[in-house]
Symmetry: C2
Subunit: 198 residues, 2 copies
DNA sequence: CTTAAGTGATACACACCTGTCACAGTTAGC
DNA sequence: GCTAACTGTGACAGGTGTGTATCACTTAAG
């Protein structure tokens, strides 16, 4: 994750790398083409320092996606900890993802041309998501079979809900959280596959 | 739409502006930060010519969004021509949008900070979309009330379906078109608002 | 306290994109 | 065919982001 992988970092330095990653997360979410200058500024540091921690812009993005993938992995583990019903697992997962406010896609799409076209997600994360969808499928909550379609729909609706203002009609009306809104929308989107015949 | 608004253009020149817009549509869909050089190259023209037709990059993007909004408007008119059932109207609209393969969002999001935060869409287009959703709502097909949420979900799923490979499981399995997939997914996503209680 | 590590400030080279211009060659339109 | 319009080529200036390096200063860690 850091430029000098061999030696150990001083405490403040390691703290700053975290600040840079956090700042990059926030700034790049608003503007994916933001300069390292602006990222450093948001982190309260200089551009030079950003370059000391991350050799190149590319390296920073890689570290960022790695961090996000790690968060997704732990979120998957936490939500599947006990043998809860699939829909509960799915709701938990969504809540956790919203809590870590990852600005979800931004960086992933930046690196999407990198790895195996899973939308920037590590294969492990993609597989973990697919397992959750498989649970929902077995429980009869959804009927869509394509792993790619399920994943993309989920990520897309996560992003849209995230950008939704807090006072949106669909939220205040029923007093629901964004996570619940996303859960219902995703289940609905992936669930009505064979019901009607229009 | 063109640099010199006062005089009429020669036939080939006008033809080239269309090529530039088409090329921009395609190239910017793949890379929103693509240079005018690459856009011109994709159009079989030089960067200088691009600048002759469009005074600045900004002007090109504005013309592009204007063109897309115009297409959306005509698509809305066509789909609502006769008094067809709401679900049929919605399906028609989606099919038309897919046919003109607009690479839907790309440019809209680029200009989204411009106008009134409707995701790059003209107020007229946003209103037209909302009318379609109102029809679906009255017919009991959907229950979501937020215009923003409905629109964003629709646009997001349009984009995801567009990027879906032709041989995706959810498509070949039932022999359905992408348009039908989107229609069902959107109706499902916006329709299950008050049914269950997790 | 002392040392090594980290940072800020500054400067530099490099590359890319934008916008404009001038000039020569080509093409549409009458 | 003639003329005006259009394009290609090449060049230029200005701006911005990247990556590197140096020096003085501050701070964590032993």
């Amino acid at each position: 994750m850091d430029r000098d992988t061999g030696r150990r970092l001083r405490a403040d330095a390691e703290h700053n790398t975290a600040r840079i990653l956090a700042a990059a997360e926030e700034v790049l979410a608003a503007d994916p083409a933001a300069s390292l200058e602006r990222i450093g500024e948001a982190a309260g540091l200089t551009r030079a320092t950003v370059h000391r921690r991350f050799a190149s812009r590319r390296a920073l993005l890689e570290a960022l996606t790695e961090q996000l993938n790690q968060r997704y992995l732990t979120a998957l583990d936490q939500s599947r900890a006990d043998g809860a019903p699939p829909l509960v697992v799915f709701r938990r997962l969504t809540e956790i993802v919203f809590e870590l406010k990852a600005g979800h896609r931004f960086a992933m799409e930046l690196m999407s041309d990198e790895a195996g076209c899973h939308g920037g997600l590590t294969p492990e994360v993609a597989d973990g998501l697919e397992e959750v969808f498989a649970l929902l499928r077995e429980a009869g909550e959804i009927t869509a079979t394509g792993a790619d379609w399920c994943r993309q729909v989920y990520l897309a609706l996560l992003q849209e809900a995230d950008q939704l203002p807090e006072d949106a009609a669909d939220l205040v009306e029923a007093g629901r959280s964004k996570a619940e809104l996303v859960v219902r929308a995703v289940v609905g989107a992936l669930g009505g596959q064979g019901s009607r015949s229009t």
